[in-house]
Amino acid sequence: MAEQSVTAPNAPAIGGIGNLTKRLFVKLGILPFLLFIAMVVFSLLSENFLTLQNLMNVLRQSVYLMIVALGQMMALLTGGFDLSVGTALALSSVVGAMVMAAIFAIAPDMVWLAIALGCLSGILAGVTIGIVNGAGVAFFNVSPFMVSLGMASVGFGVALYLTGGVPVYGMPRAFSDTFGYGALLGIPAPVFVAALLAIALYVFLYRTPQGRYFYAVGGNPKAASLSGINTKATLFYTYVLSAFFAAVAGMLLTARIDTGEANIGASMPLESIAACVIAGVSLRGGVGRLESVVLGALFIGLIQNGMNLAQIESYLQTVVLGILLILAVIADQIRLRYVASLKN
């Protein structure tokens, strides 16, 4: 970001503000503009918006979406998408909470064993959904839309069935204290986990050959295959990773609300795809940067927070989010046209 904002202003000597805006838009996409507009609008609407305390809140509230969006990004990069992220999140929450509560009830002394096993089984339950998605997409050539839509229904049904629709209680206090409200060096635990995951994924995507292969498979599956890349395995990893990220977010969210819930995460598919698309991840696959997706998730968190402060009703917030998503896709198309006109 820093590097781009330095080079961009001195690049075009020709044209006025309009041309400069156009070039910035082509270079950075729609996100910086939306962020700027949102900042201005919400600071005007509420004086509490632009405070350090509130911005910290935004960060803390957006990490769950951010983690899910990182997984969603993997699916989009390979030219698919994952509609079952919400379900993976809910299922991990329910299974994790149930296992944790059960072990805690049997052995109240072994708090950390209960937490560890609970988290592990919760994440495993979520990953199972990714395994089915991945197998469907990679080995049976089913469209990602169908598999993940089907699995969203399956997972949601299982989560409801397991809990009977009732929230799961009885987890050790330490779980919520540590992963929900705890902090390390002044950084809230969920933020800490999200940062670790983002860094790990960054290294994986941009510093290892397999990371590059996700882009290659999304860019041109046939070319990737003829270049000696195992495209089936790559697609399989994609959906497993996507579900893994959703499941981790599920466990963190469980710690935050201190209950296992089958109904959390319903808005995650839309919000995570929106975060990615606003951040410039191409729906055609092969294009998108992790840093931008992190910003995209923060942006959505910022919008939600700003609308809360401005006392906009939650029903209307859904409307705004949908509109933003569509705007982002339109903006992406316009940008492609500009790119063509500038490059030709």
């Binding site: 860019g219 890349i229 030709n344």
Partner: protein, 517 residues
């Protein structure tokens, strides 16, 4: 009917001073930062085939897109039958009788032939589609053109050649005066090409002017009346096809004397057998009981019609197509049924014919595209991590060696010309020490200048001891570039020809041998 009357008048006048059917004067087209066309004068007479000739990026495509109304000139004048006209859209051009068949078809593949023919101009009765009239008129048009197509067949069930016919038939919906064809034979078989040329001959007789873009000398010789050469967006010269030699044209096009496009081979004696494929049959039946061997340091050609199995044979050896029976060995090790991944690691690379759909990630950078197949070895990676610096240096060295233009390795591949995209793909051959490299149609859609450097590149690899296979539909490539060739026919190795037998007649004889029997 109207059409032919117009034409007769045109020809009578033409007896004295032929009035151009279509003419451009000082056409210029500017894109931001680039001048694609610079004051181009061009004229097309009624009843002639006028070939546009030039390297990729010379401005041919821009010129025809302007003539077809798909693009507007920045300045300059277009005249049609002596009258200045503005072609604001494809629709405008069509209503004047100017139709273009571009390389990318404008057909809806899920619709039938007749639905496509009348798309956007459907005859109606009482506000509803007049289906009877559509199929009647579609049949008339197809019959008139002599196309053996069923009007009710879905377009996605047709071969590419048949789709091309539909596209041409579409051009006939309005009274055709000018037909623009952009490399129409790129994916046609010889037989289909003959059919197309027959049609063009018929059009000429009716006084239609044909603008034809091609890179193939043989086609120019067969159908061209005049040739206009463009270079770097500028008009160079218009010559009579009968007087122009191949060398003349190449010289006009490249602006320099190119003695021969093909380099001297001067190869060392072939070494050990590198690839040995025996009795290979594929699951899809496109290759049947085919056998071949390739030795180190030799260039083996694979000739045959499109669909003869020559390309499929090498894909099967490479592991991109499933093999039902037969064996493949590489350096005496069995590799039957191995994946492309494993073959690449064992030193066997296949570079596909269709760079856009099978070769390159168009929206990614040159660097990523070149390094793709070798990210698991040094200097591209170190341990489990990618070595960014090593990758950058290696790719820079390779692109410099191949004269990539512009030499920007972070630029996305889609912004390069066809020839330079091909160089990006070929650069993969140098990222590892391969023992065997298969080039599938290495010069399709590539201009002559780049072609020469690609040939030089391939021959250098062979001199270095690499076993090379060239799959080509371009006969001169087989004749001049290979030391031995196999001819494929209906999935079988029909013949193996040694260097002294590599003549046009001998190779062509085997293309159809079995049909003749």
């Amino acid at each position: 009917m109207l059409n032919s009357i117009n034409k007769q008048q045109g020809r009578e006048e033409a007896g004295v001073t032929p009035l151009p059917l279509l003419q451009t004067q000082a056409i210029t087209k500017d894109y931001p930062g680039v001048r694609a066309l610079d004051g181009v004068d061009f004229e097309l007479l009624a009843g002639e085939v006028h070939v546009l000739f030039g390297e990729n990026g010379a401005g041919k495509s821009t010129l025809i897109s302007i003539l077809a109304g798909a693009n507007q000139p920045s300045s300059g004048q277009i005249s049609y039958k002596g009258m200045p006209v503005t072609l604001a859209s494809v629709h405008d051009a069509r209503s004047l009788g100017i139709s273009a068949v571009f390389q990318e078809f404008s057909l809806i593949s899920q619709m039938t032939v007749e639905e496509n023919l009348f798309l956007g101009a459907e005859p109606r009765r009482a506000g509803l589609l007049d289906r009877a009239r559509i199929s009647r008129e579609a049949k008339e048009t197809l019959d008139e053109l002599g196309f053996a197509l069923r009007p009710d067949q879905r377009v996605d069930q047709l071969t590419r050649a048949e789709q091309q016919m539909v596209e041409i038939a579409k051009a006939f919906r309005s009274e055709l005066q000018v037909l623009i064809l952009d490399e129409p034979t790129a994916s046609l078989t010889t037989h289909e090409t003959d059919q197309l040329f027959e049609l063009i001959g018929g059009l000429k007789k009716r006084g239609v002017g044909v603008i034809y873009i091609t890179h193939r000398m043989a086609e120019i010789r067969r159908i061209a009346d005049r040739i206009t050469v463009l270079r770097d967006g500028r008009y160079i010269e218009t010559v009579e096809a009968a007087d122009a030699t191949e060398d003349d044209l190449v010289q006009l096009m490249t602006g320099r004397v190119v003695g021969a496009i093909f380099p001297e081979l001067n190869l060392n004696a072939p070494g050990d057998v590198v690839l040995d494929a025996r009795n290979v049959t594929t699951n899809d039946g496109l290759v049947v009981d085919a056998s071949l061997t390739v030795r180190a340091g030799e260039i083996v050609g694979m000739a045959g019609l499109v669909g003869s199995g020559k390309s499929e044979m090498m894909q099967a050896c490479f592991g991109a197509l499933a093999i039902r029976s037969g064996t493949v060995t590489l350096n005496s090790q069995g590799i039957t049924g191995h994946t492309p991944k494993r073959n690449i690691r064992d030193g066997f690379l296949y570079l596909p014919a269709d760079r856009r759909h099978e070769g390159l990630m168009m929206m990614r950078s040159v660097r990523e595209n070149v390094a793709l197949a070798s990210l698991d070895i040094e200097p591209f990676s170190k341990g489990i991590f990618i070595n960014r610096g090593g990758e950058k240096r290696a790719v820079e060295a390779l692109t410099t060696r191949l004269n990539l233009s512009p030499p920007l390795i972070e630029r996305t591949v889609e912004h390069f010309s066809g020839g330079n995209q091909q160089k990006v793909m070929l650069a993969r051959a140098l990222t590892r020490n391969y023992d065997l490299i298969v080039f599938d149609e290495p010069t399709v859609g590539v201009d002559v200048g780049t072609r020469a450097s690609i040939y030089e590149f391939i021959v250098e690899l062979a001199r270095g001891g690499v076993a090379i296979v060239i799959i080509s539909s371009d006969l001169p490539e087989i004749l001049h570039l290979t030391t031995r060739a196999y001819v494929f026919y209906q999935g079988r190795t029909q013949a193996e020809l040694q260097a002294d037998q590599l003549t046009e007649e001998k190779v062509l004889a085997h293309f159809f041998e079995k049909e003749a029997c």
